[in-house]
């Protein structure tokens, strides 16, 4: 999507129901034809209890039961999955960046990182991770904050903050519940002088991270619509969310068993 739209000639977009629609509304890009996509599979054995696609630019949420393990597949590579966690029974207890960092004494999220709440308690634990490190410093993009970074001309862009607000609304939550978040598959190094920024990612199509719920956790994800920084290679692609019960019978999930209604259907899905 170009950053400015000066003419009212309709553009043809794919719709959620699989058709096409001519529209003058500037919407976020759907990933380019021919993008390499690797749909992956669960990182852990167990009975699949949920297997859903998150469309590019779209929000998603689900409750992951205590002991269940969520695998997030970076289907197209370097697609930031902005993520917030809440105690499902008490959403006022939610993910806390500073508590997560202070308890582990490190700024980055890796295998073994305990994702802690604002009360200091474990919400989830990273049990497997296929990239060097995950980010929880950079926070989310949003319409207003994008104007600071890129200019007022991008105010019309959809952002993760807007996705979070939409998904929070569906769960009875609101703006007060949106705090600093995780960014799966995003790379935000902090240099010696404190300089930091979102730089080229370390992920690739099919790379995965797996997190185990330490209590019943509401997981909220924004599949980042950001089109102004390299977090998604300027090509937003799907994410796949697979939840397994490791105590249940079954094998690693293979095909995409269920899709969100709002998801576009990729032609080259496994």
């Amino acid at each position: 999507m170009a950053t400015t739209q000066t003419e009212s000639t309709p553009t043809t977009y794919p719709t959620a129901s699989g058709g096409t629609l001519a529209s003058t509304v500037p919407v976020g890009a759907v990933y380019a034809e021919g993008s390499p996509l690797h749909w992956g599979a669960s990182l852990v054995e167990g009975a699949v209890v949920l297997d859903e696609e998150v469309a590019p630019n779209a929000p998603w949420s689900a409750v992951v039961k205590e002991g269940h393990i969520l695998t997030i597949v970076d289907v197209g590579g370097n697609q930031s999955g902005d993520c917030l966690l809440y105690d499902a029974d008490d959403p006022e207890e939610r993910y806390s960046v500073p508590d997560t960092l202070a308890w582990q004494g490190n700024a980055y999220v890796r295998t073994g990182t305990v994702l802690r709440s604002n009360e200091g308690r474990p919400l989830m634990t990273v049990v497997a991770n296929e990239i060097d490190r995950q980010d929880t410093i950079g926070g989310a993009c949003g319409k207003e904050s994008n104007t600071l970074r890129y200019g007022h001309h991008v105010m019309f862009h959809h952002g993760c903050r807007e996705n979070f607000l939409a998904e929070a609304g569906r769960r009875g939550l609101g703006v007060r519940d949106i705090v600093s978040n995780l960014n799966w598959f995003m790379n935000v190094p902090v240099e010696a002088d404190g300089a930091l920024g979102i730089v080229d990612g370390m992920s690739a199509p099919g790379r995965r991270v797996a997190v185990r719920a330490e209590t019943d956790v509401l997981v909220m994800v924004s599949n980042c619509p950001q089109m102004n920084n390299p977090c998604n290679d300027f090509n937003p692609t799907p994410l796949r969310m697979i939840v397994v019960d490791p105590q249940g019978a079954g094998s690693p999930a293979s095909p995409v068993a269920g899709r969100l209604g709002s998801a576009t259907t990729p032609k080259d899905a496994a």
């Binding site: 508590d99 009360e119 200091g120 490190r133 950079g138 600071l148 404190g194």
Partner: protein, 316 residues
């Protein structure tokens, strides 16, 4: 209870309704304070004598107190006309404070002993759903470490405040403040009225006084105790720059300010060591278009344009 004979003998924290110090005092201390000799100095056998006794206790000073009016502060910052002060207070170790400030107010924190740690939350006083966003505060200026000219940004693309002076350079935007779970593990106690209160516990009390609750508490900043990120991501404690440093902010919007003066989460000392924190605020002006800071960077310029846009529409 504070008595005329023991003006500063009690802990600075809240006490339980029995009047007994509930902090780290020994049974012997308690016995001493409740001894018949001290008690006999207070005549409270009637309402009138109780009134006289209470009134006789007024007018004293302690190390940690608000100065009212603010112009009477014994610690007015250099170069500031005391008549312009709107807030002057020394926050106790393990204490907290809060204030609503007008746009354009200057806010200064002083660390006289080198052991203060000012944990800070800022909200748009008119719409507290707009509040400090630590991720944006680090990401948008491309800089994780707080210092001179660093904007403190909301999640709504506006400048809540900007750092206008910093003689410390030891601050932290990574670790937030302490939780009860953290302090119970580290010190064995996290009660707000105990010997090692958590920052979150104090923020909750300050927030409640403005109708806010734990949903409204995002990650916070802290001043005067530094942390650096090493090459492998490790968070390295740098501690204080020593006694006598200060940090100054200017409120670019109407602000609700919550402050907790508690030990930093990564403070490696086995004890809970915090010094007093001095707070002063005085009437001044928000950063205007003629100030070099207004256009210092493209990001800051647009943040100021957004802020002025909001304030002008609001009639501020």
């Amino acid at each position: 209870m504070t008595t005329a004979e023991e003006p500063t003998a009690t802990a600075p924290h809240d006490q339980d309704p029995t009047g007994q110090p509930s902090g780290d005092v020994t049974a012997q201390d308690v016995t001493g304070r409740l001894s018949a000799g001290v008690r006999d100095l207070h005549q409270t056998d009637s309402v009138r004598s109780a009134q006289d006794d209470a009134r006789a206790q007024g007018g004293q000073a302690s190390e940690w107190m608000p100065y009212l009016p603010a112009s009477g502060s014994p610690h007015c910052p250099p170069g500031v006309d005391p008549a312009t002060l709107v807030w002057a207070e020394t926050v106790a170790p393990g204490g907290y404070t809060h204030k609503v400030l007008a746009r354009g107010t200057r806010l200064r924190f002083d660390d006289p002993t080198g052991d203060a740690c000012a944990h800070l939350l800022l909200f748009n006083a008119l719409e507290p759903a707009e509040r400090i966003n630590v991720a944006d505060t680090q990401k948008i200026p491309w800089q994780a470490y707080l210092g001179e000219s660093h904007p403190l940004l909301s999640g709504d693309g506006r400048v809540l405040a900007v750092i206008t002076g910093d003689s410390s350079g030891r601050h932290d935007a990574f670790c937030g403040t302490t939780t009860d779970a953290w302090n119970e593990r580290k010190y064995g106690d996290a009660r707000p009225h105990g010997p090692s209160p958590s920052g979150r516990g104090l923020f909750l009390k300050a927030a409640a006084k403005h109708g806010l609750s734990r949903r409204d508490l995002p990650p916070s900043l802290s001043f005067f105790q530094g942390v650096r990120v090493e090459a492998d991501g490790a968070l390295a404690w740098r501690g204080s720059a020593g006694p006598g440093t200060h940090v100054e902010l200017v409120a670019e919007m109407p602000l609700l300010v919550l402050v907790a003066n508690v030990a930093h989460p990564l403070d490696p000392r086995p004890g809970y060591v915090v010094g007093p924190l001095r707070v002063h605020a005085w009437r001044s002006a928000a950063t205007g278009p003629d100030d070099p800071r207004f256009t210092a960077t493209p990001e800051l310029h647009r943040a100021y344009l957004n802020t002025v846009d909001y304030c002008e529409a609001r009639g501020l």
